[in-house]
Symmetry: none
Subunit: 114 residues, 10 copies
């Protein structure tokens, strides 16, 4: 996943630390072993520095995972990496809760701080 | 958004630190990219110094966002800036939870302290 | 609101710090701008010193607000002032949650400590 | 209320600190102003020292309040005093939540520690 | 209650501190004053040292209380003493919640640590 | 239980501490005393170092317990040992909640840290 | 229990069938075998004919049971008989749910129709 | 209560049977025996014929009860009578649930059909 | 089980059909195959004819099952038979819900009508 | 409101009666008396005959109410009329629950059947 879909805009209040939260209940990707679809609920919290991520591009970014295969652990870290590269935020946390597969529920939780 | 709608009255107990809370479940503005309406639930908590905001003018102030476009992050900071400029409060926090758009729930949380 | 309605009795255990709580779900007053009725749920917690407030007089005190106009912030502070003047308690907190008006929910929270 | 109803037995494990809890949902007494019945739910937690209170005598003790008038604050402190005089416990807390009267809910919370 | 019913097996991971929990909702004994049955829900948490208690013998141990009289406080401490004598655990806590008797709910909570 | 069923893949983000969680509500094994089936809900949380466990092999690993007898305490420690031997993780915790047997609910909670 | 406490007023809308409901959560009487207090929650629904029962007298009527002994079945029928004799209603139902005694919950449900 | 406050407008779809519902959680009147305030939650459902009741006038109509004494049964029937006289509806039901007084909860339910 | 424990009193309102309900959450007996204790929650509803069952004797009757072995189906029918022989009621229903054994929940529901 | 925004597509299963449901939580229009915004949650259930309404056009149709004044009763009937004219459905029901205004909640429920 390259981050050429994601767009930014200038943080409208660069001298104030405040938090922005996203919940994406409609995330879907493909299982790298079976090719079958995976589904997850993804929550993002970040404190912006100079840049904010634009919401519509964020939606398109998540839609672009629809046809990509990936391990749960890989996808979650990749999303974090893309957002860190794009925004260089003061703080960001991503929690991904995947739907049950083979009788097992999986979730992955990653954090980056400046 | 200029704050010429908002009115104040003198804090009736200027020597006591106490908190005032508002919940505005009917906030609506326009998306700056599509022109379509956005909706949010906004919660405000502040500790007044010399001035309190009058409730009816607060209602009209939020109604005035109805035809204005704005990013979620921008609007939330703008509301904080207007109330800080108007009231110069000891403390104020604003939490805005926007309705789902493109499958994504967004919330923004900003704080100002003297 | 003068506190000539409120009555006290001697704290039956003056050497012990303990808390007394009241919840008054039937508070009603008048809006100072429109003359229309306002409604609130009021919670009081206090630690008595020498005096306790008598329950029936407290009820009559709150009934006496029925025909009085007042801003939410003013009323809540006035109740605190009356109880502090009456009881001189070690600690008292009042939380007033007003019913929705103009699409906005308001609550006011005030505390006094010796 | 004299505590000649209450009986004790020796703490079966005097060298161990442990807690005993009672909930009495059927407490009833009389209002000292109107003579009408009051009702409360009473919770007791204590850490015994040398003595424990016997359960049946505790029931009869609470039944003996059925025909006695008393302010909420007075009754709650009286119960604490009787149990402290009887048991000399390491710690005891009593929380009494009285039924609504005149549109007002009242609760009283008292603690004693050695 | 002698602990000749209870059996042990060697802790399968003696060098690791971990906790084992039991809930026994079907505990029943006799009231020492009236001979009538008492009922309780008992929860046990312990960190084993060299020995673990075998589950079936634990069940039979609790069944053996069926015809024994005992005060709530005594029974709870006795169970703790038997398990401490048997297992010499690093930590053990027992919480016993007895069914209502005479309108009073009773619970007893005891802890032992090495 | 040998861990020759479990497979690994390289941690896709080896320089970042993050947590992975599994919940396995369909675990079943055999009682070592009666040969009857036991059932448990197992939760695993770990922070990977160099390796992650592959999800499908994890499922097969748990399926392989279906015909194996084992004490609750033994099985839980064995799963921990297998995953520690396989992954050498920075941190791992396993919580196993077994279905009621003989009127007793049992759970076992084990942790390993580097 | 004689019904000389209960008072009536004329049904304000005698030509309309409508229902009136009362819930009395503070009913208490005495056990005819032990003399110990019983407690119940009583619900009444009736369709008035020419008369309605006055609320304050209804309260005093129920308070008058405080010192009277009576079987659950007897008390519930007696309340129905008193209200039928007083009001001659088109329909009346009484449901009395008594607090647990000796591990047994009892309720009695009686109906009268013209 | 005269109905000269209530206003109507023409049913916009006179040839269709449909229902309109109101909930008035802020109803308050006076007790005819003590002069103290009563509070109720009132629910109205009606099927209009030629006329609908205008909402703002309905609000003022209920506010006008604020200083009027009345039995629960009388008030509920009076509201029904006023609305029937005003609207001549195909069907109307009013359910009034009054706040607890003297430990008793009261509700009144009245219906009118053409 | 002979019914020489159960006592009756005369139905206080023999000419009125009304229902009496009991819930007995503390029923316990023995398994006829293993001798181990069984537990159940028993609900009884009956419409009395000439006689009612006295509550304390009902409690003792159920306590007497404590040391008796019996299949679930047998016990439930036996209780029905004893109460029918004692009371000759117009209608009686018994529902017994036994605690889980071997992963299976059992309930038995029996009815008798004149 | 003209229905030139709404689009249709052919019912894919014309010989089967089945229901389609929509919930529109973001409906907003203007009050015809004050010009202030109204808000409602609208639920639609219909059984299609030959035609179904297209979802995106339905959304735009509801957005088009944003600047139109209308009584609650009028708007609800207008929506029904538009959908009946468009779809000629076997059955359609619309339930509109408007936000509280002046302390009063209003809902309107309309149905059309062939």
């Amino acid at each position: 996943m390259s981050n050429n879909i994601l767009e930014t805009f200038e943080n409208p209040k660069i001298d104030r630390s405040y938090s922005i939260n996203f919940e994406i209940p409609e995330f879907t990707s493909l299982c790298p072993k079976t090719g079958q679809p995976d589904f997850a609920n993804i929550e993002i919290e970040y404190i912006p520095d100079k840049l904010c991520v634009e919401l519509k591009s964020l939606k398109l970014y998540f839609v672009s995972y629809r046809d990509k295969p990936g391990f749960h652990e890989d996808l979650t870290n990749q999303i974090l990496d893309d957002l860190v590269a794009l925004l260089d935020p003061k703080y960001i946390n991503i929690n991904a809760e995947f739907n049950v597969r083979g009788g097992i529920y999986t979730s992955v939780n990653v954090t980056h701080e400046k």
